[in-house]
Symmetry: C2
Subunit: 209 residues, 2 copies
Amino acid sequence: MSYNEKQVQIMETAEELFAMNGFGSTSVRQIADKAGVNLAMISYYFGSKEKLIEALVDYRMSHVRLTLENLLKDDSLTPLQKMNLLVTEYVDRIVQRHHFYKIMVTEHMLDKNSEITVKLLKMKQRNTEVLQQIISEGQQKKMFRKDVDIVMLMSVMVGTSNHALVNREFYRTYHKLEHLSEDEFITLLKQRVTEEIKAIFKAQLTYEG
Amino acid sequence: MSYNEKQVQIMETAEELFAMNGFGSTSVRQIADKAGVNLAMISYYFGSKEKLIEALVDYRMSHVRLTLENLLKDDSLTPLQKMNLLVTEYVDRIVQRHHFYKIMVTEHMLDKNSEITVKLLKMKQRNTEVLQQIISEGQQKKMFRKDVDIVMLMSVMVGTSNHALVNREFYRTYHKLEHLSEDEFITLLKQRVTEEIKAIFKAQLTYEG
DNA sequence: GATACAATTAAACAACTGTTTAATTTTTTT
DNA sequence: AAAAAAATTAAACAGTTGTTTAATTGTATC
């Protein structure tokens, strides 16, 4: 599916509002007003509010797919280097698309069996397969341990980075980093989160190092 | 503040619905119906929907405060033992009160400067102080490293355990644990998450071991 | 048993909800 | 330039929203 300029504008405005106020607390009129389009255009283009968020999910997920899978087929990299690359890419991505990932986290927590839950599950399965592949390679090359809980490692990576991002203002205050610009601070935080997860992965995957 | 039976019933029903459908997508009529009380009773007791969720937060937070702080003053425990105890207590708590912690996670992510954000910040500050105290003790006794990022460690613990809980069905399917009862499975998951975080803490805090 | 206060109710309130309609304008195709 | 298709609009739709009202019932206090 490809979207024209106005459709993208609506989706990105909705993304921001959903992330800031929650899906249920955001009205289509708010979206229309902020996006500067007529109210009826949302139904015209997307059909409904529910289908709008589904379109947003498709729109954001379509760009993700190819990035990693090709990068990780690189034969010149060791399994651990691939894991490190994966962590860097993931943290970069959720920082860059923090609005979108906020929405994903909230939707993930709701019990309803929506279209979005299905799309999320598919993405998780793809990501797990990539991870599985790297780890299997590391195990074959006797570099990684045999008893690795992949899903748990994903919880560490996804959970830690999400929380660190949501908790960023607390981090900033606690470490007295107010003198940094927003960009400088985010760069620093990103780096520290990445290093933290890499360290955990190394300790858990390899025979200590 | 103390609440009568009916007030508690309303708060706990609201808690379940907020966690399952989100705050914005839950109507006061749904809450009244499910709780078996008249619609007007919610305004009568709490004033508004917003104040209802604030009351819920107070209600749930009031029970938490004392548990840890006393346990951790125990002189017969080493700093590492205290950290392990803290992890166990935390994971236990969010599993037992998973509805409530779902709500906290979602509220934490919203940009609005609500009463709840303030309450959450205060709780975080108290928790950080407790953690700070244990770690300082470990550093004085030369058992813990000097360069420890407390806030990052909290992100690891909070983020990982939240995500593991939300992701539990994926974990169950991936590890083919469908034959376990819900209780058995949750007990297993809880144990694994606890062990995972303990291992990370040990590796990051001590001089390897 | 009267008085005062708390609890409960159904009904009403105005504002807002997502979505549709039907008319009009703009753009594209022929 | 005519015809067809797409985009845009203001207005209306019926249903839901959170909250309040005013009347009634229940329960203590004197």
